[in-house]
């Protein structure tokens, strides 16, 4: 995907037109649009708020995608900033999480980003150009267009899970009335989003049955919550969530938004007035309605419903929507996004026709941005974004999205009203907030576990339904089923959920008339299914799209017969003692664990970077401890105690060349494959650019010494990146020698590695004993003394826990064999352990000499004799052979020929009892002993 060809062009950024407003406090001017011209080219690209843009990122091929929410600069026009809503590319989602998607991501797919960890204020000069982004419905297939420049949004991504996009952010701002006196209104909500929706959809579409009741509901109950949630979106959708951790530094704009929030919360009264003053008729109406809802406490639902339905100027579509109303009466929960649909539809229609009296403009593509005044411009891009999406939707999905969309306005509407006072008359403020809205909704809903649970359940059932349909109808197979979560979360209790599901399917049947008869039956099925007991919600039915062979990841085939489980105590002990079994905790490394944990945790919390060097002889638990730390941190991140981070691991031994480290890091970070050089460049860029949306990356470099190169550039880079300001990289390195930095690193590398060092001491015998005990975990298989013997022996030799475990395992085997024929206790005793120790540690040289043939033994004797004669520890074969022949005569054996002697010599050499020169030297090759002379003599004497 090449998005821009001339990388080195110089772009000139200019504000278009006069500032829309000026913020005294921050000394910033808001602008409506930004001109980007490339030097030497006449063409000028205009970036307006609400448009989707590409922002320079660390990967030139895949620049960041975002949507402009606000453009502002400082007084003297030196700095140009933009507040954006991010979208995440497939490549930016961690590979591990990509699995959650449950399907192959489309190469041009992007996700609406709801994460909390990235700054949404970017330098306007990093904007490259606009890009077309289409919102697709969850189930809609990706269009097969060849247009590589178009990106598709289906889901949102909050760094943990994928969710359906709550609402289309774009349209919200589209008709938000820029000219209106209170531009700060975020999204003059209800009217705008719809504008796009109906345009493309045929009139045949039936309006939603579930009407606006929920709006009122929500208005009554969920107000405050919403406001707060939405407000935070003002500048950063994430601000609120982040505030919990308050680790990252706030951008000025964020502070502002927080302030606004506070003020607005206190002055709710102003809302109405301001709304009323909005010039646009449709928006006025809707706002009016909303404000009424806000201000009044819960009124009779019917009343409201009527009002709602009546409010829009075009009542025609509403008629349809009203029909199923009865059902919705019971949908009481506040956030019912679902029930909102009809109103949205209505509004859509309305806005279509009425929008500034220029309905045609609503359908214009973003490619014609100039037309219209500022107000229009604000809306247009959103429209254009919205429209294509519609086209791609399958009927049913459309319906759903429509519903979602409908919710947004109502949500948006709150923040808007709340904000007004603080923001004053900022013309573009609405744009700034509007796209954020969906973001807001999610965190809230996600908090509601029960709702989620239910929704996922229903989703699953719907999946089933969908699958069934797919079975029935060949044509629909591509129709991937990803339900918008929002819809499902709309109600909190089961009954409602069922109700809705039923509705849903009802609707579906109607909408999908053309599909097949099976759909009709499916309706009932859904119903019944909804009542089935809860199932684990995690499971998602993945569509049966065949995987492309090139991406297939191989695995060892699974066994046809299950592995047998340990049958007796000894087998059980053996299983537990295997090095591979992961213990619940790592005994004896508490201090080290704590140190590493606090180091990494502090770095993650601070959002900074750092290096740590961990050394220790093999088998002292270095890697295990780090993994344990990571498990704990990951857990902490999962429960939101610390910001999320990204853990990747490379091992110097598991790569073929030090430079492969770049490739592996890049691949684990982004999933990209590239050559080492390219990967190095990409990583360099990634870690040095102030990319705003970035989680802390924790990189574990195992077997560091193997990354050594002559110029040490791999090590240099690994240690240099964490020092970069924007890198947010924590590097943990592991190697065996304590003084590795001093020994093999040149100064500039060692300096960057820093002095955060940790040394893992070899285990003492007590620790080893404790390790075995904790592994055995009360399985009584060893005698106390036996354990002590093993641990003392190993501690004396190496302190390698692996060795210790291996010996114990071997001892259990020996015990098992011996107990079979004798009367033993069944416990592993001293004798077994001794035997195991002997097997593992004794050298076989002496036995080998004893077992050698006569000629071989004679030759060894001859070697020693020759050594004594020469007074050297080395002789040529010729010299030894003379001795050999003499010895043969002494022994009364027929003297061997030279060939035979050489063969004997070679055999001894192959066992490494002798050290030989290459055999092509023949009789001239030199011979040395690989064993001490005493050992040889001892072995020969004992014979």
């Amino acid at each position: 995907m090449k998005y821009f060809t001339r990388l080195r062009v110089r772009r000139v950024y200019k504000w278009r037109g006069a500032p829309l407003s000026f913020n005294r406090k921050l000394k910033t001017c808001e602008y409506g649009s930004l001109d980007i011209s490339v030097e030497g080219l006449p063409r000028i690209t205009v970036i307006k708020t609400g448009e989707h843009i590409l922002i320079e990122g660390d990967d030139e091929d895949n620049p960041y995608v975002a949507k402009v929410i606000r453009l502002f600069g400082d007084e003297n026009g030196k700095q140009k900033k933009a507040v954006v809503q991010w979208f995440v590319r497939v490549s930016e989602v961690p590979l591990s999480k990509l699995k959650l998607l449950g399907r192959e991501p489309h190469p041009q797919e992007i996700f609406y980003y709801q994460g909390r960890s990235c700054d949404d204020e970017v330098d306007a000069e990093s904007i490259l150009r606009t890009v077309e982004v289409k919102h697709l419905d969850g189930a809609a297939p990706f269009p097969d267009s060849d247009d590589r420049g178009t990106l598709y949004v289906k889901l949102s991504w909050d760094s943990k899970t994928f969710k359906a996009v709550e609402s289309e952010p774009a349209p919200a701002s589209s008709c938000s009335p820029p000219p209106c006196p209170k531009p700060s209104l975020p999204p003059s909500p209800p009217c705008s989003p719809p504008a796009a929706a109906p345009a493309s959809r045929g009139p045949a579409r039936r309006a939603l049955p579930t009407p606006d009741l929920a709006v009122m509901r929500r208005a009554a109950t969920g107000e405050v919550r919403y406001c707060r949630a939405t407000m935070s979106a003002g500048n950063a959708a994430t601000a609120e969530a982040e505030s919990m951790h308050s680790v990252t530094k706030r951008s000025a704009s964020k502070c502002l938004s927080a302030k606004r929030r506070g003020i607005s919360a206190r002055t709710p009264g102003i809302r109405k007035k301001l709304e009323l003053s909005s010039p646009e008729k449709k928006s006025m109406i809707s706002e009016d309605l909303m404000s009424q809802l806000l201000d009044e406490e819960l009124k009779s639902e019917v009343m409201l419903a009527q009002r709602l339905s009546l409010s829009p100027p075009q009542a025609v579509p509403l008629k349809h929507s009203l029909t199923p109303l009865r059902k919705n009466h019971r949908a009481p929960t506040a956030q019912g996004s679902f029930p909102l649909k009809p109103s949205a539809v209505v509004l859509n229609k309305m806005s279509l026709s009425e929008m500034n009296g220029s309905p045609s403009s609503a359908r214009l593509d973003s490619t014609s941005p100039q037309q219209g005044d500022d107000e229009m411009e604000a809306g247009l891009p959103a429209d254009s974004v919205g429209t294509p999406r519609r086209r791609n939707c399958t009927p049913r999905r459309q319906y759903l999205t429509r519903g979602q969309k409908a919710t947004t306005p109502s949500q948006k509407w709150e923040p808007k009203t709340l904000k007004e006072p603080a923001l004053g008359m900022l013309a573009e403020a609405d744009n700034e907030t509007s796209p954020m809205l969906p973001v807001i909704a999610t965190p809230r809903s996600s908090k509601r576990k029960s709702a989620q649970l239910v929704s996922s359940r229903i989703r699953k059932q719907l999946n089933l339904l969908e699958n069934q349909q797919d079975l029935n109808s060949d044509g629909e197979e591509e129709d991937e089923f990803v339900l918008s979560k929002k819809e499902l979360q709309s109600s909190s209790d089961d009954d409602d959920e069922e109700e809705e599901a039923g509705l849903d399917s009802d609707e579906e049947v109607v909408v999908k008339k053309g599909r097949n008869a099976a759909a009709a039956t499916s309706k009932q099925r859904t119903r019944s299914l909804t009542r089935t007991p809860r199932k684990t919600p995690k499971k998602k039915i993945t569509p049966g799209t065949p995987r492309t062979p090139c991406r297939a990841t191989p695995s060892i085939p699974s066994r046809s017969r299950p592995a047998r489980l340990p049958a007796n105590v000894l087998e059980e002990a053996r299983t537990r003692l295997h090095v591979s079994s992961v213990p619940e905790s790592l005994p004896c490394r508490e201090q080290e664990f704590q140190d590493i944990y606090s180091f990494v945790e502090s770095k993650i919390v601070d959002g900074t970077g750092g290096c740590m060097y961990i050394s220790g002889v093999p088998g002292t638990g270095k890697t295990a401890t780090v993994h344990e730390v990571m498990r704990c941190l990951q857990h902490a991140a999962d429960v939101d105690e610390i910001p999320p981070f990204h853990f990747i691991e490379i091992n110097g031994m598991k790569m073929t060349d030090p430079h492969q480290a770049y490739v592996q890091v890049l691949q684990k970070l982004t999933g990209q494959k590239s050559t080492a050089d390219h990967a190095a460049a990409l990583l360099e860029k990634r870690f040095s650019n102030p990319a705003p949306r970035k989680e802390t990356t924790v990189l574990l470099v195992d077997e560091l010494d193997l990354l050594w190169t002559r110029k040490q550039n791999v090590m240099y880079n690994l240690f240099d990146w964490p020092t970069r300001r924007h890198a947010r990289l924590v590097v943990l390195t592991i190697a065996n020698t304590m003084d590795l930095p001093e020994r093999i690193m040149i100064n500039r590398v060692a300096s960057r590695l820093g002095l955060t060092r940790m040394s893992f001491q070899p285990y003492s015998f007590k620790q080893l004993q404790q390790i075995i005990m904790s592994r055995l975990n009360k399985v009584k298989a060893f005698e106390e003394d036996a354990l002590q013997l093993v641990s003392r022996k190993v501690a004396a030799l190496s302190g390698d826990a692996r060795r210790c475990l291996d010996i114990c395992r071997r001892a259990t085997e020996i015990c098992e064999h011996s107990s079979a024929d004798s009367h033993s206790t069944g416990l592993v005793g001293m004798s077994h352990v001794m035997e195991a120790l002997n097997e593992m540690f004794s050298s076989a040289y002496i036995t080998a000499i004893k077992c050698a043939s006569v000629q071989e033994q004679l030759f060894l004797r001859a070697v020693i004799a020759e050594f004594r004669r020469l007074g050297l520890e080395e002789a040529t074969f010729q010299q030894v052979f003379v001795q050999h022949q003499a010895l043969c005569r002494v022994e009364g054996l027929q003297p061997a020929s030279v060939s035979e002697g050489l063969a004997v010599c070679q055999r001894l050499g192959a066992c490494r009892l002798l050290l030989l020169e290459p055999s092509r030297l023949g009789v001239l090759q030199r011979v040395r002993l690989n064993v001490s002379q005493d050992d040889v003599l001892y072995a020969l004497k004992a014979d």
Binding site: C550, P554, R561, A563, T656, A844, A910, G922
Partner: protein, 434 residues
């Protein structure tokens, strides 16, 4: 026994001999597995248990089989595998990968071979055989995906294990042993090597990951066992089609083994080397002498075969040299005596040779310098002599320093047997001084 009539009731002698040779050759050359491992029962049991645990319980293991050449390491392993695969549970589960350090000389080739033997290359088409780095990542990922209970266990047999330790960074060994020590796909790594010091070859990290199980095959058969082995190797089993022939043959073998001279020959072989492979070689030579006309192995055959086995290769080569070349060798031998093994060059050899000629005043051996040069070069090609430093070609050929690659005993032996060797040359060789 030679009186035995060729009129056989069942099969003509020729047919019997053909069948006999076929059976015995299979036994001697194809390393047919014995029904029971002899002398290594304990090791057999140990290894079988170990591999069974991998196959059945999914426990990862690593083990080295160490023993001198011809000790039966591969035989043991093959026996174990044969026995293991008799169990259906193991048979259906176990995947095998056989690597040989002599074939897979670097990790790249080894990885490709592993991928091929695991049939993983089908999964990704030709993608596997991309770069070495990709291969490694691919394989590691494949192994990482598995876990103890669900994936099929893989048996990695690394023949000539020590050669793998010479690969760069020991990447393959590290990764295999690391898998065997971590909760990934269950694998058993079985290495066979004849080096007793193999553990010292392993890098410390690799060594730590190796389980340190070693099965030593240092069997020490007595001569009686050796003799029995000879007999069983040559005996025909009962299912030979012609009963009479097989009975006769077995009887002949029995008498053969009781023969004094035969025992002597075998004792000499036994003294030289206890491994069975050299014995098989000897028996093969005997077997090839069996024909329809001579349907039994006689002690003389064994003696001949033994002679052939012990024949000195270099001494045999000397028999084919010309007189001039032989004279040069003798001159070199004298030079070696005089200068105690110091290297010599062509000029020195020529001078030595000239001294011999002057004494004889016989023009029979008067050769031009170029002819001598040619003979000298021929000797070098035969590797009877080799230059001291092979790299330097700067010096003139006449003055390049050389060493004799023969032992004196070899020269003398060759002279004894050289057909029609002139007596003066013989005397010159015998004389203590040049």
């Amino acid at each position: 026994m030679s009186k035995r009539k060729s009129k056989d009731a069942h099969l003509p002698v020729g047919e019997c001999i053909t069948q006999l040779q076929e059976i015995l050759r299979k036994r001697l050359c194809h390393q047919q597995l014995p029904d029971r491992p002899e002398g290594v029962e304990a090791q057999h049991k140990h290894l079988l248990e170990l591999l069974k645990r991998t196959a059945v319980h999914g426990e990862s293991n690593s083990v080295l089989i160490v023993g001198p050449r011809g000790a039966g390491k591969t035989m043991l392993l093959k026996c174990v595998l044969r026995d293991l695969l008799e169990e259906t549970e193991a048979q259906t589960n176990l995947l095998q990968v056989h690597l040989n350090g002599l074939l897979q000389t670097n990790d790249r080739i080894a990885l490709q071979e592993i991928t091929r033997q695991l049939h993983l290359e089908n999964v990704v088409g030709d993608k596997v055989f991309g770069s070495f780095a990709e291969n490694l990542a691919f394989l590691l990922e494949a192994l990482k995906k598995g876990d103890r209970s669900s994936s099929r266990p893989v048996l990695f047999v690394l023949d000539e294990f020590d050669l793998f330790a010479h690969h760069k960074n020991q990447t393959l060994l590290y990764n295999l042993l690391d898998v065997s020590q971590s909760a990934q796909a269950p694998i058993a790594v079985v290495g066979t090597t004849c080096r007793l010091d193999v553990l010292e070859l392993l890098e410390k990290r690799v060594k730590s990951r190796f389980s340190h199980r070693q099965i030593h095959l240092l069997n020490n058969p007595t001569f009686t066992q050796y003799l029995e082995r000879v007999q069983t190797q040559l005996s025909l089993s009962d299912d030979f089609p012609d009963n009479k022939f097989s009975r006769d043959w077995n009887a002949s073998i029995e008498t053969l083994c009781e023969d004094k001279s035969v025992a002597e020959v075998l004792q000499r072989h036994f003294n030289s080397s206890k491994d069975f492979r050299s014995m098989h070689m000897l028996l093969m030579l005997c077997l090839s002498r069996v024909s329809a006309a001579k349907p039994a192995i006689r002690p003389a055959d064994l003696l001949e075969a033994s002679k052939m086995c012990f024949a000195d290769a270099k001494a045999n080569m000397l028999h084919g040299l010309s007189i001039l070349e032989l004279c040069l060798i003798i001159a070199m031998k004298h030079l070696n005596d005089v200068y105690e093994g110091e290297p010599f060059n062509l000029q020195m050899v020529h001078n030595e040779f000239k001294k011999f000629l002057q004494r004889k005043s016989n023009s029979m051996y008067n050769f031009e310098q170029p002819v001598i040069m040619k003979a000298f070069e021929h000797l070098q090609q035969l590797e009877m002599i080799r230059p001291v430093d092979s790299s330097v070609v700067k010096t003139q050929r006449e003055y390049r320093l050389m060493r004799l690659m023969l032992d004196h005993s070899q020269v003398m032996e060759a002279l004894q047997k050289y057909p029609q060797c002139p007596t003066d040359v013989k005397q010159w060789a015998m004389s203590a001084f040049g």
